[in-house]
Each structure stands twice: as structure tokens, then as C-alpha cells.
Amino acid sequence: MKNRSLISINDFSKEEHLKILELAAEFEKDSRQQILTKHVIASLFFEPSTRTRLSFESAISMLGGHIVGFTDASSTSVKKGESLRDTIKTVSNYADLIVMRHPFDGSARFASEVADVPIINAGDGSNQHPTQTLLDLYSIQQTQNTLENLTIGFVGDLKYGRTVHSLLMALSNFNCKFHFVAPSFLQIPEQYQMFLKNKGLEFHTLSNIHDVIPDVDILYMTRIQRERFSDPSEYEKVKDSYELKRDDLSTSKDNMQVLHPLPRVNEINIDVDDSGKGYYFQQALNGVYVRQAIVSLILGLKK
């Protein structure tokens, strides 16, 4: 993986995904290895992102790396009209690796074509967020001790949720079964259903979360995103479609865990947090180890 960019989850093979997870487990045991002391990482966040940015910066800092960059494009030459091409070409001179979040779809792919150093996509619009997918994979593996033959329930905004789409693609390599729980107009798009059909994987589309809780190993909750609705009244109709409570989990399997990419709004009641089933804060912490693994592999500091 040395010197390669990570733009889309499909850029890396199943074996490479597993390699990243294996190394993340090593970092979970020792996240303070001083292996990045000679490296400068650029963190270019063209739009706000609290968790992803802090997770990357925390991961790099713990390994002794130096971070340059910005958290808001309004304080940069972008405001003067500088193109993304020129920003990336310039910053390539200052850093060994660029972590980039940008509001436009495809910006990371373009950046990887013009940069002289590898790019890690920290989210390009509604397109890809591969490090989130890898930390989700790691979290599933940590809770289930495997990624193979699991039953996964996805709940909420499955139409627009990029985390769901990417995770689905990654999990399709592990013979999993899927339940998609959403209001009808937020159901998983046809192209992903076709993708699963073509791979011969079992899936079901439903609207009632209680129908799937007893069957799943992982319940992956997502927020119904207000910003996706052009008509606010449509959002009002569905915003509280799902609110997972502790009592709802009484029928779940012993190994079942609830994941969420965060932030949550109403979809998981706080009484789930200490139920032994709510894994989402540990999931966020896992992001640090996974990002340490990705950075180390791309910089060739680990094999």
C-alpha cells in the first residue's frame, strides 16, 4: 500500500482491508509508537468535520507526527479564488501525505491525480468516506471476532447514507446477509440491491426495526439527515421513524452490538449507551487505530 492514495473503498482489495484491520489491532495495543516523528501530514478540511478531523489529528499526534493544514477553507487562499488543483500542488511540497475533506463529490480522486504525495480521502461530498468504512469493519470484527457470514441490519437513511453504501460494498466480500430497515422513500437504492443480487447475497427490505432485532449480529443505525430534504414537511414525517430503546434490545442475540457513525440525534435513546449493546463510542475510538494503520501503511512505515 506504500505511496498509494486511499480514495474509494473499492480501491483496496479484501486482503488489503484485512491487513489494515490487523495493523489497527496492533495499534489498539500500543497507540503511542513514535514512528511518525520525521513526517509531516497535511490535514486539509475544506468543510467542517469534528470527529473525522480530530480522529485523524489524534491518530497522527499519538504517533509523534507533525500536522499542518486548516479546518476551514474560508481562512485560506481558496477564498481568493485559488483552484483545488493549485492548493493540492502547493501543499504537496509541504507534506508527506495529505488527508483531505472536501464538499464536492470526486474532489479526492481529482486531488490524487494532481498531488505529488498520497491522498487519504476523509470524505468527498456524499461520495466516499473509506476510513469510516474501515473503522466500521474493524468495529464489527472486534465485536464478532469475524467478518464472515454475519447478519447485518442497516436502519435509517439508507438512500443517502454514504457510510451504509460503502460498508455494504466492503461487507459483500464476506458472505454477509443484510436487512435494510427504512421508510420506503429512504430505502437502499436499486443499484445496491442489484449489486447484492449479482453477488448472490441475501438481503431483505423492511420498515419495522423490531422484525430484525432478533436476527442480526450488528444493528447499524444511521441518522435521518435533515439536510437531505428539500421539503421540510417530508423530513418532519420521518424524522422520528426509528428510536432504538434499551427495552427494544431484549430480544436481541447475546453477541448483537449497535453501531452508529455518529452524530446521533433521536435514533438511539441514551439508555442504550450502558446496556452492553451500544458500541458506537468505542467505534469512534477505533477510528484512531484504523487511521494510524492506514497512515503507517501508506507511508511505508509498517508492512
Binding site: 474509494s8 483552484s83 483545488l84 488543483r85 472536501h102 464538499p103 464536492f104 463529490d105 470526486g106 474532489s107 480522486r109 481529482f110 468527498d124 461530498g125 456524499s126 461520495n127 466516499q128 443499484q191
Partner: protein
């Protein structure tokens, strides 16, 4: 004697069996507006195969396959005839290319190609029944009837 509605050319390329409504799109895709060669354009000609068709003749010009295959998006049944000395030397049919660069606009308004000076690139999926284009950058898929030329 049959009337020749579009003059014969001595040397060059004849693109025939273009759907009538796509003639000007083919002109644009092949950038014939800026050609220094003689270009003869026939539109709304009677056709047994297409009912109405277009035909374009370009003197002294022999297109490369990757150039001509771009028109498959708007004229999938077009034929290509190479003329030398008023004689037909070679006849081929356009093929759908695996990748289309620079001529199609991404319909995703949030795609980076609509905000930076970037040549668009689409991977063409011809495995499915209807042709689909997938943007190399934003990864969104366009159906054939959604295609807009830049």
C-alpha cells in the same frame, strides 16, 4: 437517375446512418465546426433503416477509432466509410468505447468536474441492456437519456 442530395467526395470519410436528431450532436462531438476540411452535412434524409437519417461527409479526413467511437453515444448504428478516389476502401460500424473523455457533462451538480477546470471522464458500462456512464470522479451513474454534452 437517382439524385445525389449530398455530393460525393473524392477522398475522406462518410458517416452514415446517423439518427436525424443526432446529426448536429455528431458535428459537435467530432468538433467539425472547427475543421478546416470540407464538411457536407445532410439531415432528415429518407432511410429504410431509420426512417429519417443524417449523413456527414468530411473530405481529406480519416478519423482514429477512439475519435469516431465517441459518437456511439448518440449514433449507435452509425457506419463509417473510407473513400479514396471516389471508391469505397473500407466500411466499419462504430463501437462503444470503454471510456469517454471530455465530451459529456456530469449531471451531478456537486461533482468536482462542474466546479474545477477538469476534463470529464466516464467509464462506459455496456454489459447492461441500456448503456450507462459512470463518472470517474464522483462515481455517479448516468443513463443514456440523461447524457448532456459539454
Amino acid at each position: 437517375m437517382k439524385e445525389l442530395r449530398v455530393s460525393a467526395i473524392e477522398k475522406g470519410t462518410v458517416i452514415d446512418h446517423i439518427p436525424a436528431k443526432s446529426v448536429m450532436k455528431v458535428v459537435k462531438i467530432l468538433d467539425l465546426e472547427n475543421s478546416e476540411n470540407t464538411v457536407l452535412i445532410g439531415a432528415n434524409l429518407d432511410s429504410k433503416k431509420l426512417v429519417k437519417k443524417g449523413i456527414i461527409k468530411v473530405s481529406n479526413k480519416f478519423f482514429k477509432a477512439h475519435e469516431i467511437n465517441k459518437i456511439s453515444l448518440v449514433a449507435p448504428e452509425a457506419s463509417l466509410t473510407i473513400i479514396k478516389n471516389f471508391d469505397v476502401k473500407e466500411k466499419t460500424i462504430v463501437k462503444v468505447p470503454k471510456q469517454i473523455s471530455g465530451i459529456v457533462k456530469c449531471r451531478n451538480s456537486k461533482c468536482i468536474t462542474n466546479h474545477e477546470n477538469i476534463e470529464t471522464v466516464f467509464n462506459v458500462d455496456t454489459d447492461c441492456e441500456s448503456l450507462k456512464l459512470k463518472c470517474k470522479y464522483c462515481e455517479k451513474v448516468m443513463e443514456k437519456d440523461e447524457i448532456e454534452f459539454s
